[in-house]
């Protein structure tokens, strides 16, 4: 989806620290901006993108978007995404859905 996180994040290292997940690069991030003071339009989230990482997903890591070809499964009323060998559990990071890599859910 978005492949520009790493570069910009490092370019704007000074700014990105402040940009917690809720201030990820989305329209609402900026709409959410607390007026002038905290506005960081081009600063990037500290989370990665699964597709960009491209290597084996590490349990506990957080991504903002899923790799292609995932299937949804619900275990104990918890929705998971099964993508390749990895399982992702959605969560709200700030007001935005991110996915944390988890161990295979136990049925």
């Amino acid at each position: 989806m978005t492949t520009n996180k790493g570069t910009l994040a490092s370019r704007l290292a000074g700014l990105t620290f402040f940009v917690a997940l809720s201030l990820a690069a989305t329209t609402a991030q900026a709409i959410f901006v607390r007026t002038a003071v905290n506005y960081r339009p081009v600063a990037r989230a500290v989370v990665g993108t699964a597709a960009v990482i491209g290597t084996a997903a590490v349990v506990g890591s957080v991504v903002r978007s899923l790799p292609p070809s995932c299937s949804t499964m619900v275990v104990n009323n918890v929705p998971y995404q099964h993508c390749g060998n990895a399982y992702y559990q959605p969560q709200y990071s700030g007001s935005q859905v991110t996915y944390v890599v988890v161990n295979p859910p136990q049925h």
Binding site: T27, T35, P41, Q89
Partner: protein, 264 residues
Amino acid sequence: MRMLSTSFAAATALALAAPLAQAKPEPAKPAVDPAAISALQKMGEYLRNQPAFAVQSRATTDDVLPSGQKVQYGGTVDLKIRRPDKMRMDIAGDRRNERMYYDGKTFTVFGDKAGFYAAFPAPATLTELKDVLEKRYAIDLPLADLFYWGTEHDGTAAITGATRVGVANVDGFMTDHYAFRQKDVDWELWIEQGGRPVPRKLVITTTADKTKPQHSMVLNWDLAPKFEDQLFTFVPPANVHQIEFEATRRANGNGNGNKGGRPQ
């Protein structure tokens, strides 16, 4: 004739030069015009005195592609507030769609496209909620800062430049146009003239980035709204799942004895 025109030209030149010559000794306008700061404070006070309101924000936001090219996204936020303990927000953007609910007991964020929601037992007032949202959940409430001008929590200290630019018509409302500067950010605010000093437009320019991206909002206010109570309470539709906040998950799972660390 020639003489006349020459002397006329000379007189004109003198007349044009005179104001310049006079202007020189005048003291320079202070970088921070107290009247501009005062306008911010009056706006803040007026907003704080509204028991209920609905405001719609139409926003555009610049982003920068890896190539360095600037692109613009759009979106709207509909915010409904009834003090002291009701809030509803509907966000619809190019990259985002979600709703937030607060009914004095529970705060919920719901992404209808994703089909997920997360909730926590909320404090009793909007003021406390804002604090919890920011500190614990990394959720900033839109426009909230506008309400703090004129309080000890405002951003006056950071302002290095403040001036009134002039008068402008925003969506049919006559406004005073102000420009402010602070570190890394220039911003402009259009405040309605007359007895309702609400912000009608806001433009923020990030000067720290060489592309100087902007975020712009035009605000439409309803200061006498009629809200049904059910607006503020989230009722999960069928086929949506409740998920956790990352903050809650980390608090529960990091083994530091914070188990069950639900916010209050």
